[in-house]
């Protein structure tokens, strides 16, 4: 049966648009039809920009037709996680405190996509301020996993992953501070990539943990990931942490070849707490790559268990400061009754932030307090440096590291938030990648007995994003369609 337009990959759809087989309007129609049909239940979107999208479509169509706009993503409908600023489109971070916030500028990553001719169709749901692993901390309701609506889509970029998995857009942007792109991609059976820190500008991304945050693509296949990443990567003078790279032609890494690639599999990643079905599927993927010519070896990564406390110390410390600007003075939510300035701050922030965000602000404030700074924050930075060193050692031997993206498949809705500590433990395979600034990609490698997708994670050395794309592309060919 022929695929519907919204079911095509971004590149497939872009090709049809570029040759005039499909109009930009038809592409939008297909995505919006899927949204109208399914999003009542899935709730991947917080805001649709239908009118703006159709308006832009006319202009984009003209430029495609007269040959002045040629880009694989020209005319393709994209969804944006709601923590990236979009000029004139509400951007809330799924928080009550920004419930009415309309930015005056767009984030650089979104600008890059728009310049390529992609069309923003809406903003996707997420954990409030990207703090969470299930999209259940959103102030505006949960998102359901399109593969099984009794389960969460993962998080924090759960809305983007669900929108892609439900064919409610061709591709989407997510952000990843501790696994927030890779883990929901894994839970939803799509491809998600966090590039090397500094590859994509953070300008316009509403910060959670600035030293860890990175924007990346969530797509239906690895080809789309390469195209999208190539499009959004740019050296940006507005972001001091942006890196001037000359190797961002990621599509040139779409080569089916892993012969001679050295892949390390950390034994520490397959210990206690890992679901046996997940373990088996990931090991099978390693075997598949080995059969295709890769050299696969087990090794000890070490320090894995220290990653979680170090991560939550650093991320929460930065978050506690980054979120100070939400105070009810300049924009967003302001409490109704207050006695004085202090009361205004207290009420606004107590009413405006949800419990998980408040928990992290308090943890972050605590670890930065005088008397505790050295014992917590500085120590966490030292652990971070040691983790980086452990990865450096690993990458002196291996081209990449292979493992699961999460210990289990998507949990059921409503089962995670009551026990935040075990929710944090679920981030064990993803967070050290952020601490070390490394690239990581997640793609589906099977399903469990309940039919829920299992994610395979490949981790590369800094600036080796292309190597990851090549291996992921090869694996995808071996695996075949994942529908």
């Amino acid at each position: 049966m022929e695929k519907k337009l919204n079911e095509l990959s971004a590149v497939e759809l872009g090709k049809k648009i570029s040759v005039g087989e499909v109009s930009v309007k038809e592409a939008l129609d297909a995505s919006f039809a899927a949204i109208d049909e399914k999003d009542g239940e899935i709730h991947a979107y917080l805001e649709l920009s239908r009118e703006k999208a159709y308006e832009r479509a006319e202009d984009i169509q003209k430029r495609i037709s007269d040959g002045s706009l040629k880009h694989p993503l020209a005319g393709v409908p994209v969804a944006i996680k709601d923590n990236m600023c979009t000029e004139g489109i509400k951007t809330t971070c799924a928080s009550k405190i920004l419930y009415n916030f309309v930015p005056t500028f767009s984030s650089t990553a979104v600008e890059n996509l728009e310049e390529a001719g992609a069309i923003v169709i809406g903003k996707t749901n997420m954990d409030e301020f990207a703090m969470g692993s299930t999209t259940e901390t959103s102030a505006f309701g949960v998102t359901k996993n399109p593969r099984n609506t009794a389960h969460v889509p993962g998080g924090s970029s759960g809305g983007s992953a669900a929108a892609v998995a439900a064919d409610e857009c061709s591709c989407a942007l997510g952000s990843d501070t501790g696994g927030s792109i890779r883990q929901p991609a894994g839970y939803c059976g799509v491809v998600g990539m966090k590039p090397t820190y500094g590859t994509v500008s953070r300008y316009g991304l509403i910060a959670y943990g600035s030293s860890l945050d990175q924007i990346g693509p969530i797509t239906k296949d690895v080809t789309d990931t390469a195209v999208m990443l190539e499009t959004i990567s740019s050296y940006d003078k507005k972001d001091s942490t942006s890196v001037d790279r000359d190797d961002t032609n990621f599509t040139s890494a779409l080569i089916e070849d892993v012969a001679g690639m050295k892949i390390g599999v950390p034994r520490d990643y397959f210990g206690e707490g890992l679901d046996p079905e997940v373990s088996a599927a990931v090991k099978k993927a390693a075997d598949d790559l080995k059969a295709a010519g890769a050299i696969v070896e087990e090794f000890d990564l070490s320090l894995v268990k220290y990653a979680i406390p170090a991560y939550y110390t650093i991320a929460d410390a930065e978050a506690s400061s980054n979120l100070e600007r939400f105070d009810g003075i300049k924009y967003g939510y302001r409490a109704e009754d207050f006695k004085d300035l202090h009361d205004l701050y207290k009420k606004t922030r107590s009413e405006g932030f949800g419990p998980e965000v408040q928990r992290r602000i308090m943890l972050g404030s605590f670890v930065l307090s005088s008397g505790y700074y050295d014992a917590y924050y500085l120590k966490a930075l030292k652990v971070k440096a040691l983790i980086k060193k452990a990865f450096d050692d690993a990458f002196s031997k291996y081209d990449m590291i292979l493992g699961p993206v999460a210990p289990t498949t998507a949990p059921e809705l409503g089962k995670s938030l009551s026990d935040p500590l075990s929710m944090y433990l679920g981030d064990i395979y993803t967070i050290s990648v952020n601490l070390a600034g490394l690239p990581g990609i997640c793609l589906p490698c099977g399903r469990d007995s309940k039919g829920l997708p299992i994610g395979l994670q490949l981790i590369g050395d800094c600036f080796k994003d292309s190597t990851l794309i090549q291996a992921a592309y090869t694996y995808e060919k071996i695996r075949g369609d994942f529908a």
Binding site: P103, Y203, S210, K238, S321, K330, L341, L368
Partner: protein
């Protein structure tokens, strides 16, 4: 039984840097814009915005550090100082705590010889001239906050972010000062360095230089420091002097009556001549400083330091010495001219062209100072070029115009920097130097003023002045009064 106490003072001096744009965005730092017109997403703390460091700020901070003998931190970082206040749009200020750009410097001050400012502040000479070294603990870079405007009528406050993100340096001294005189000498020295560097105009009144005074007392001979207080809101040398005297008095009363000084921040009220406590150490905020993850560390190379060193100007003490040797003008002139680098630059350039230091100095000391005062301007805002001043002096020397016309031309030059030669030409101001022509005017004047002529001849020497005036009037000011005087006397003898 009264003990003898020593006053121990350290200063924290904030200086607003003279960059064209703000420290972390491209917005203008110009004064006087309508509220919130010199703003952008960065300096109003909009979600998603990110700071990018203005390199000029680093250069100015380095230049001040080098002038004050500091070590430059090769790998310096910015930290966030977290506190909630509406003038601070992110609710953290980007500053430097752990690795400030400059450390361990000093300036040398002279005491015993009072400057104009010290005299104006009401100090009296203490006699012997002494040199003292005041240590500088550190200099760090940071951003200024916005301004709150309280609207009493509407029971509301408004906030203006035009100043938010204007670059500051904070110069923290060691507790090395012992008197108000030393404090003012230190501030003047800092101000001279910074103004000569062009890094700031350092105006206390307008807030581009702000000094917080940390003061404690200890018994003479003691090596331990007493408990200190910090005084804010000192916006003139006079208020600094009064605040020091007042705080010394207050602390002494406490100590004498057996009490303990509380470590606190106090606000000086200049009108009432007293200070009151703002907050004590107990309710001091925990600023939760940590390195700003949005900014990368600033790595300062040896070359960069050398480049900044090479572009350091000749500072005032060296200039004064050189002027004494080179120009042969009075010390008083040198003091005043070198008070502003702009004035000194004009002096040197104009002198180089016309070769007449005393005449250049006179124009600066008399007419320039008068006009500056009249127009309430600062010397660094002088618009006329040294070349034009030199050519005005030449016009007078070669008797093309007389002194009175020259003053007239100078006023126009002061306003619009016109070329005096052209101006004199265009306005027909050239002096009449033809003795024949002046003689005929003199004859007409003698004819028309028989009474004055009679007075003069009758021995009233002063009457000649009136007649010269009449000649000048008839010549429309273009005659040389000296020539007119000579011819009149000849005709009347």
């Amino acid at each position: 039984m009264s003990k003898e106490y020593e006053t121990v003072i350290g200063l924290e001096v904030h200086v607003e840097l003279a960059t064209k744009t703000k420290i972390f965005c491209g917005c203008s730092t110009a004064f006087g814009g309508a509220p919130n017109t010199h703003t952008c997403p960065v300096c109003t703390g909009m979600p998603g915005s990110l700071p990018v460091l203005n390199k000029q700020v680093v250069e100015y901070a380095m230049a001040v550090g080098l002038a004050t003998n500091c070590n430059i931190t090769r790998h310096c970082k910015f930290d966030r100082k977290n506190y909630f206040y509406p003038d601070n749009p992110q609710n953290y200020q980007i500053s430097q705590l752990y690795l400030p750009i400059c450390r361990d410097g000093y300036v040398e001050i002279e005491t015993g010889k009072l400057s104009v400012n010290q005299k104006n502040a009401g100090m009296t000479e203490s006699g012997e001239v002494k040199t003292k070294r005041i240590g500088i603990h550190e200099i760090h870079m940071e951003e200024d906050a916005g301004k709150l405007v309280h609207d009493d009528w509407a029971d509301a406050s408004l906030v203006d972010y035009n100043r938010s993100g204007v670059p500051l340096i904070e110069i923290v001294s060691e507790p090395d000062m012992r008197s108000a005189e030393e404090v003012i000498a230190y501030l003047e020295k800092l101000r001279m360095f910074i103004q000569y560097l062009g890094a700031s105009d350092c105006k206390l009144q307008e807030g581009s230089m702000r000094a917080d005074v940390n003061l404690s007392l200890r018994e003479v001979g003691s090596t331990e420091f007493g408990t200190r207080t910090e005084m804010k809101n000192l916006n003139s040398f006079t208020s600094i002097m009064h605040a020091i005297a007042g705080e010394r008095e207050r602390q002494m009363d406490i100590l004498e009556s057996g009490g303990k000084v509380v470590q606190e921040t106090r606000r000086w009220d200049d009108a009432k001549g007293e200070s009151y406590a703002m907050r004590s150490k107990e309710d001091a905020q925990d600023y939760r400083y940590f390195p700003d993850p949005d900014l990368i560390p600033v790595d300062i190379s040896e070359e960069w330091i050398e480049r900044v060193k090479a572009s350091q100007p000749e500072f005032r003490p060296a200039k004064i010495e050189r002027y004494k040797k080179e120009y042969g003008i009075p010390d008083y002139d040198i003091e005043l001219i070198t008070e502003s680098k702009r004035m000194a630059d004009i002096f040197e350039e104009a002198t180089a062209i016309c070769g007449q230091p005393k005449k250049v100095s006179n124009w600066l000391m008399v007419e320039t100072m008068r006009l500056l005062k009249e127009k309430c301007m600062d010397a660094d805002k002088i618009r006329f070029s040294p070349a034009h001043l030199a050519s005005l002096i030449k016009l007078v020397d070669s008797k093309v115009i007389n002194n009175n016309s020259a003053k007239e031309v100078f006023e126009v030059m002061f306003e619009e920097d016109v070329d005096p030669e052209k101006y004199v030409e265009e306005h027909g101001m050239k002096q009449e130097n033809d003795e024949g022509a002046i003689k005929s005017i003199c004859e007409q004047v003698i004819e028309a003023n028989p009474q004055s002529v009679a007075d003069y001849k009758g021995g009233k020497e002063k009457a000649i002045g009136f007649l010269v005036g009449q000649v000048m009037k008839a010549a429309k000011g273009k005659a040389d009064p000296g020539t007119a005087n000579k011819i009149l006397k000849e005709l009347l003898s």
